[in-house]
Amino acid sequence: MKEEPVMPPATPHPSSPPGHLCRAGKTVKIAVARRILLAFSLFITAGLQYSLAAPQTYRFALVTDRQDDVMSGAEQGISEANLQGRFLDKQYTLSRYASADTGDISGRDYVAILAALPARKVLALAKAFPDHAVFNLTAKSNKLRTLCLPNLLHVIPSDKMYAGARRQWHEKHGKATILVSAWHPDFVKFAARDLNKRYKAAFNKPMDERAWAGWAAVKMTSDHLARDDDDNPAAVLTALKTGLAFDGQKGLSMYFRGNGQLRQILLVEDKSGELLGEAPVRGVAAPNDVDSLGVLSCARERQRDQRVRPPVPDGRTIPIPRR
């Protein structure tokens, strides 16, 4: 509650000659009071204008026990969001927490929480903050996906997707030793070149899949917030699960599956780290058929408990958060 300002006592109008003060006393008092009221309302308006003109700030929390590429990736995402934010009067910040300190996250108005943690810690975090989008940036466990937690969004692919990519590649190219990754610093297609260049210039190291995941989580959220001011974390979560068409610079419009997994292509490299190609592998799967890469359905016990999901316009379904 703002304090009511104290009105200063009325003073004679400076232009009134002293000889006329007594006769014109009442008029002078009204005139002065009017001026003070005008000054006061101008002051309030100026204050309002200032607060309206100040950029709207959106805060992200990143929970990680390592200072590594996930953090720099998320920072890259924040700096790109702020570049866009300059045109929209919005700004974005990132705060880092150790996994032991997640209690400090409560009540701090974060729009979303990013996690670079082992599977069981990500799960605990998602359960602790059911109304926030919790981005899983590093844990590849299949089980984490089959749990189908309503607020857990997996940016990094699942083990099953990596295995699917390997299997498709080997079907086409024989049993050569390969590595599969969600990103590669030499990937140039689909504006990957631009992202790799920017990241390298900013951090002086190649962008790997951990950095890409950190970047992607921030960028997809800021892309949404650019169009929709509502920073209520529950609203942000719903929008991410239903309305996403994210350009992660991997060439397709990305969105989350019903189990919370981000659909995406994977990249294949040889054992020396040289980029070989992409999965889904052309000739083995239909082009862009990312659903050929290992879809995990929700575990049975959970399906029994879930209420009927409402259909969303484009046919994707989402689980309803438990109350």
Binding site: E80, L83, Q84, L88, A226, D247
Partner: protein
Amino acid sequence: MKRLICGCVFGALFVLLLGQASIAATNRIFVTNERSNNVSVINGSTLEVEATINVGDRPRGIGLSPDGKELYIAASEDDAIKVVDPVSLKLLREFKAGSDPEAFAVHPNGNIYISNEDDAKATVYDPATGRQIIEIPVGLEPEGVAISPDGTQVIVTSESTNMLHVIQVPEHRIVANVLVGARPRAAVFNRAGTLAFATSEISGEVKKVDMRSYKIVAKTKIADDTAKPKDVLLSKDEQRLYVAGGRSNQVLVLDADSMELIKNIPVGKRVWGLAMSKDGERVFTTNGVSGDVSVIDTGKNVVIKTITVGKFPWGVVIDD
């Protein structure tokens, strides 16, 4: 004596003709080949490639001066604009044009507005002197540049920031930033400058923007998920939109009013670039992956010829 007078008269006429404000159009179509580092020169009558010009590293954007005397090519790996004579096909000069110049548009006053992909900037150059006039900060990965026919407005799309930046000329101030679908690539104004149409590659959309209110007044989403729309053009009567449908390998013809699909025209693979002849009767497309150019008859909206050019054709401009 008679010969001397004749010679003088001819000489004078010749000089007069040379001094004309603009030259007769060459009736050529110029196509940049991004990965063969050259430009294919197509004869507008025979529709055959009649010459190839080597133009430097990774040529993409291409355009003509208003008087038709100079052809500009952005060689992005060389960070330069190459200036070529469209008649003799000789390189006249080049000038540095900021970092990674990709696409550009030529203003009616002759200046060039360039999107610098790497730098989150648009830059304006005087091609006569190579002097940079101004740098305008825009969003990430600027690409499409469109100029209203009266020259008072320029749109620059920023692909990673998902915006159309509207720049007022000559003040060079950004007057509006319109959020559009993911990865906006190209835009086009109507003749009056009151509307603009923009394509978004990843969201697969074409949006119509009212350029007085800067509001999106209509949009259409291309159903084909693989289609990544790029260049967009208005037909001469402004009733139709031609949209390069990327990997759907088609040019989409939309009704400019309702934004509904009228026809799909199959062309080569990965169609990005479009150019329309002055009479509105032909549209030329650059098909990057198949390495060819399709010629569309806009009366029937069918391809009448496919012309093999260089590797990964990108931009196209018609001198007619």
